[in-house]
């Protein structure tokens, strides 16, 4: 952030629409749930989902909006994580998922995010958080040091998704990774019939401002899994936030969440 932007946030102030400019330089900042309120410190009432969250922080004008899309997979992820697990959430945003895991599952969580405002929100929730860039990898995290490593709708914005996946499989005994399925029927219709890049609830960006640089389909991901040598131990398919049976999932699932076994490799 340049000095001129400090405290100003005019570029982002109140910009909660998907058409807002994506933040410059953020490697994985631009997932649908965090871009609109990225560096904003503009005036405006924080509209926060959690009573123990950022709203308590003096001066935080973060335009954090309740975002149903972001929470699609939270219930499912909370359901997958056993009580007392240690969890590393990559691209944790404001720490809502980690707070739920702590409160509902007694999990010991830690988050990683790239944005200063998100760091403050996490700290306000009592979540340990590390401000860092996932594109730098996880080299300083020992192998198998967490029960779960989570990457929630962030895979598509990192520069080296394969490297990050491998690192997650090394660091976590289990990995949870969720992503928007690009082959979802509504995306196909927009592309095939309307001849336009899809703009949907899970992919709310125009082609020129999307942070999503590595979109894939369910099939693509499974193919990569075969190459990397992992088979999902659990597949959760979601459409409009509701779990659907994995029938013709590549066509009917809007979003997919996989639970993978760690590679156990040092």
């Amino acid at each position: 952030m340049t000095p001129g932007q400090r405290g100003g946030g005019a570029n982002h102030g109140g910009a909660a629409s998907p058409g807002a400019e994506s933040p410059a330089g953020g490697a994985f900042t631009g997932k649908p749930d965090s871009t609109p309120h990225s560096t904003s410190t503009a005036a405006g009432k924080p509209d926060l989902a959690s009573p123990d969250g950022c709203s308590d922080i003096r001066g935080a004008g973060s335009q954090m909006q309740p975002d149903p899309v972001r929470r699609f997979s939270y219930d499912e992820i909370v359901g997958v994580v056993p009580r007392g697990s240690t969890v590393l959430d990559l691209g944790c945003g404001d720490g809502e998922l980690l707070a739920r895991l702590r409160d509902e599952r007694g999990a010991h969580g830690r988050g990683v995010d790239i944005e200063e405002d998100m760091i403050r929100c996490c700290i306000a929730r009592g979540i340990s958080v590390f401000q860092g860039d996932l594109d730098e990898g996880l080299k300083d995290y020992p192998s198998q040091s967490y029960d779960f490593v989570i990457l929630n709708k962030t895979l598509q914005v990192v520069h080296k998704p394969v490297l990050l996946l491998q690192e997650m499989l090394r660091v976590g005994r289990r990995v949870i990774v969720s992503f928007p399925n690009f082959a979802f029927i509504l995306n196909r219709i927009q592309l095939a019939l309307m001849g336009r890049m899809p703009v949907t609830r899970t992919l709310p960006y125009e082609w020129y401002n999307t942070p999503n640089i590595h979109l894939c389909t369910r099939k693509d991901f499974l193919r990569l899994g075969r190459r990397l040598g992992f088979t999902p131990r659990e597949e959760i398919c979601l459409t409009r936030g509701v779990r659907i049976p994995p029938i013709a999932a590549n066509l009917l699932a809007e979003e997919i969440c996989y639970v993978l076994d760690g590679s156990g490799q040092a």
Binding site: P3, G7, R58, T86, E116, I119, I127, S128, V129, Q131
Partner: protein
Amino acid sequence: MAPDRTRQDKPPATSPLGIVEPQSFSFGAPGSGLVLDSGKEFGPVTVRYETYGTLDAERSNAILLLHAFSGDAHAAGLHSSTDTHPGWWEPMVGPGRAFDTNKYFVICSNTLGGCHGTTGPSSIDPNTGKPYGMSFPVVTIHDMVKVQVKLLDHLGIDRLLAVAGGSMGGMQALEWATTYSHRVRSAVVLASSARMSAQGIAFNAVGRNAITGDPRWNNGDYYEGEPPARGLAIARMVGHITYLSDESMGMKFGRRLQERDSFEFDMEDQFAVESYLEYKGGTFVDRFDANSYIYISRAIDYFDLADKYGSLDAAFAETTTKFLIVSFTSDWLYPPYHSKEIVYSLMKNGKDVSYTEISSPYGHDAFLLESHRQEGIVDAFLETAFQQAREGQNGARR
């Protein structure tokens, strides 16, 4: 900032804390009271400190602020109604600020070896009736912390809610959180390091050489005559360069000339940055003791938690303190990787640590300048620690 403007008389400053009274506490007797890291026994020691806010009945809301190299016990508030400057951390300390004096009891003391009221080389040696000068013992960051521990004992505070400091103050916070972890619930470490880098030591060495190379230094025995002002000013100039950054110097001064619009190619051509350094060096000698500069810079150079405990991981193995580590992108004296090293080690040990790397052009000075950026983060961190402390106490009562 144009030096000639800063030289003008400033109007009196204001502070929500109003006028604060410095206090003193002494312990020990000649040759005893404090066992130093060197093995030497030293005393007596006087500690200058200030407090802001009120200690609660459970004595659970105390926060110790730890100043940097040239700081002092005067963290906030004013010393008189005509004071032109509030304390060094005024934007962070006060009612409703990050170190909220409505909630917390905030303490700041001058460090051992300093020259602002706590015993240092310019203090009188009771054995000789003269200033210690270079007969003052070598002190370390841990020795400074030992004096702070004595102060807390004196104030009747068993466990601090937090220690907080930047740069050398951050080193003290780390020392607290490792060696005296049971007495600190949380630690805020800004722009600091678990060990001084070779580069940092090198700059300190230049500063010390500037002082000792000044004939007026006279082996540290100058208190009855003229102090080594030129040497100390040069030391401060070097220090100031390390506190800024290429970008901040470019923004602040560029290639501007101080008094002229164009070069006249004589020795009077002076760049704005030169003038600034001269000014900073010149004002420093009025408020700092050259021998203190030597002792404190050496204490910083000695600091190495990894060496002390065998490794950084070992240093943090037993800590129960919760950490907030903050670095600044353009800080090349205590670069972010120094902070990350601490964070990764704490994470490896499964400790409670949060880390933020604030994007700032102001170099090392950012930890004093970017208050509005730190405020929300520090405030949130302290609030959580405060809540946990209260829950802990309630739990213990149950």
